[in-house]
């Protein structure tokens, strides 16, 4: 099995991360923002697993498990908030939530 060089893994992780980040910024729908966040988390996961396999260490996979747990918990809270949001504002548009700005 040919080893995949670390650079490639990191480039893939960066691309994924960037896609996720752009998604967070450009999407108005809160659900899509959550999904983009998941993409970003997975990008870090890819980076960890890649690094773990390059250096032959188990730490990378342990880290990925933790991130996965975190992502699950986050999605649970996030979805709950989304439901409340839909209930309260009758919309999932993130820009509606600007009460802290004042006026």
């Amino acid at each position: 099995m040919t080893a995949i060089p670390l650079e490639h893994i990191l480039i893939l992780a960066s691309i994924l991360f960037l896609i996720g980040f752009v998604g967070v910024i450009v999407r108005k729908n809160a659900l899509f923002i959550l999904m983009s966040l998941e993409v970003m988390l997975n990008a870090t996961g890819v980076a960890f697993i890649g690094a773990g396999s390059v250096w032959q260490q188990a730490d990378g996979q342990v880290m990925f498990m933790l991130i996965l747990t975190l992502a699950a918990a986050e999605v649970a809270v996030g979805l709950a908030l989304l439901i409340r949001m839909k209930h309260q504002y009758r919309s999932l548009d993130i820009d509606v939530l600007s009460d802290l700005k004042g006026q």
């Binding site: 980040f21 967070v24 910024i25 450009v26 108005k28 993130i94 820009d95 939530l97 600007s98 009460d99 802290l100 700005k101 004042g102």
Partner: protein
């Protein structure tokens, strides 16, 4: 002591009451308050004068409280400035004149201004003026004197512009204030200069220094005395700064009598007399004072020859009489000057108040070309006016004769004046008698040129105060005030021989003037209406007359020299150039504020983007 300490403050009580209660006080109550407080001051000053004259006391002084402390820059010595009064013969004379004449004018004003809706304000200002003037003359140090000096300036401004709804009056008030302010600035610079050189501003200390070993160089003394003179010239309406006085006649007539004839304008004379020990140290400045006096008296006399407004004629004659006082100061005739100051206060107050009564009787007609025949229509006022004019032209027997002759008699032999000043003063006396006759012939002789009914004034107060002034003007010359303890005579090195005809010429001068005007103003005297109308026209058409009428063009000179350039600069600088520089900082802060404010837009995605950008910048900076 208590009497001296309280003397200037009685009118202040009245001022406070009148300002506090305004129209809640009836006319009677208000005038009683304001007049009696002045009477209290007058009585106390009379009592103090009596004490000084008949007891062995030569000076009285009282220290009220410490005002502030001055620290000298060089030595670090502290010098206390006290609210303290000092009374010697000179200030006693001044206090008597100010409070005595002030009392009579207050009586007159209470009746004269009765119908004015702002009577209370008027009397309050008059009282405040007296407080300031008394502070000025009683002051023990020059700082307190300066307080009084500014106080009278302020009251003068308020009272000239008393009828402020007429724009000309407000303009006249501003003009008087600004022009005297030029002098005041010179005075305050002089005071600072004096303090830095001698480390004291107490009048007695300075005079004692000047009598002994004078520690300053000639040049320094010159500048100090010039600056003090600048203040005196501004307040006393002398040559370069004289233009405000005629316009100040816009105020009510009692104001003209009190401030612009009897008291305030003599403050400059008082200042120089008070500081005469210092002035003696600089003979050039003494000669300069004499020149200023003599030129002012000639210019004012010539201007008075062609005026048509009765009050303006009196204003110009005031200027010329103060010119005489300045001339006497320059010649070292200190007591003659102060004596003339006192006598002038009597007869000029009389002239102004009588003029006020005449103007009131004629429905506020001030133009003498439209009067005429008042001798028959207002016999009492005319008699009063004749007395005043006789004093003004110094007819023998009147008080004006004593004081003016005393001045003129000193000139020939004075080391700082001389025969040329004597001749100019004689010419001035001649002009004085000519313009007085012209005024009298036009206004009082002949026949009435305008058919207007005479307004009867029922004022007993008016008649009483005028009668007292008449008595003072007639017999004031016999008031013998001995000022030798105060004044130090100029030392004469060479006694110039006085010609024997000197005094006869001086005595004869007014008669020559009267005879001359009897002949040249024949038409005025007989009341030839067409001729009078013609000469009234010629003031505007004849170039020389118009030039004289405008006060020898000083006003337009100053307009071109100072006012126009200043207005030009003001117009150019309308947007305020310096301010723009300062505003640049404000504009920069405002820009930053706008940027920062627009960042807080409440959009979550923008915040996330900004966060990422910041992180990236920080990371980049850290990596590189």
């Amino acid at each position: 002591m208590m009497i001296l300490a309280w003397l200037p403050f009685y009118p202040l009580i009245s001022f406070a009451l009148l300002i506090a209660f305004q129209r809640q006080l009836s006319w009677k109550l208000a005038s009683v308050i304001s007049v009696t407080t002045v009477l209290l001051s007058a009585l106390s000053s009379g009592y103090l004068m009596w004490q000084l004259s008949f007891n062995d006391v030569t000076t009285l002084s009282v220290n009220l409280w410490q005002w502030f402390t001055l620290t000298s820059f060089d030595t670090g010595d502290t010098h206390q400035v006290n609210i303290a009064f000092y009374l010697d013969r000179l200030s006693a004379v001044m206090v008597c004149v100010v409070s005595g004449v002030g009392f009579l004018i207050h009586c007159f004003a209470a009746a004269y201004m009765k119908e004015d809706p702002h009577f209370h304000r008027f009397m309050a200002y008059m009282n405040l003026f007296l407080v300031a003037m008394l502070l000025l003359v009683l002051a023990d140090n020059l700082v307190l004197l300066y307080l009084g000096w500014e106080g009278v300036g302020l009251c003068s401004f308020l009272l000239i512009g008393f009828w402020y709804k007429v724009p000309e009056n407000a303009a006249a008030a501003r003009k008087a204030f600004i022009i005297t302010r030029i002098g005041d600035t010179a005075l305050v610079i002089g005071l600072l200069f004096l303090f830095t050189s001698l480390n004291s501003l107490e009048i007695n200390t300075l005079n004692t220094l000047a009598q002994g070993e004078w520690p300053l160089t000639e040049q320094r003394t010159f500048w100090i005395t010039i600056l003090l003179l600048g203040g005196a010239v501004g307040k006393s309406a002398q040559l370069p700064l004289q233009t405000w006085l005629p316009d100040a006649m816009a105020g009510p007539t009692p104001v003209s009598a009190l401030i612009h004839a009897a008291t305030m304008v003599t403050a400059g004379v008082y200042l120089i007399a008070r500081m005469h020990h210092v002035f003696i140290q600089s003979p050039e400045v003494m000669t300069l004072i004499a020149w200023i006096g003599v030129l002012t008296l000639l210019i004012a006399g010539i201007t008075a020859l062609v005026q048509s407004d009765i009050k303006r004629i009196l204003a110009y004659s005031t200027m010329s009489q103060i010119g005489y006082m300045m001339l006497a100061l320059g010649a070292g005739a200190w007591s003659a000057s102060v004596f003339h100051l006192m006598i002038h206060a009597f007869f000029k107050a009389l002239l102004f108040l009588t003029a006020g009564a005449v103007i009131y009787a004629l429905h506020h007609q001030q133009n003498i070309f439209k009067m005429g025949g008042l001798l028959k229509r207002l016999p009492v006022e005319s008699a009063f006016f004749i007395v005043g004019l006789a004093c003004l032209v110094a007819l023998p027997g009147t008080s004006g004769f004593f004081s003016k002759e005393a001045i003129i008699g000193h000139l020939w032999q004075s080391p700082t004046a001389g025969p040329i000043f004597w001749w100019l003063a004689i010419i001035g006396a001649l002009i004085t008698s000519i313009y007085s006759c012209r005024l009298f012939f036009l206004a009082f002789m002949g026949s009435a040129r305008e058919n207007i009914s005479i307004v009867k004034s029922d004022g007993v107060l008016i008649k009483a105060s005028l009668s007292l002034l008449v008595i003072l003007s007639l017999f004031g010359g016999w008031l013998n005030i001995d000022l030798t303890t105060v004044f130090q005579p100029l030392t004469t090195q060479v006694m110039k021989q006085e010609p024997s005809w000197l005094h006869s010429v001086a005595v004869a001068t007014p008669f020559i003037g009267i005879a001359f005007s009897w002949w040249i103003f024949r038409e005025y005297r007989l009341g030839n209406s067409t001729k009078i109308a013609q000469s009234y026209q010629s003031i505007q058409t004849n170039r020389v007359k118009r030039w004289c009428y405008s006060g020898l063009g000083f006003d337009s000179l100053y307009t071109h020299l100072v006012v126009t350039p200043f207005m030009f600069i003001a117009k150019v600088n309308r947007k305020d150039l310096i301010d723009q520089l300062v505003m640049l900082c404000a504009w920069y802060a405002k820009l930053l504020r706008d940027v920062a404010a627009s960042l807080q837009n409440g959009l979550l995605r923008w915040y996330a983007a900004a966060f990422a950008c910041g992180l990236m910048l920080w990371l980049g900076a850290w990596l590189v």
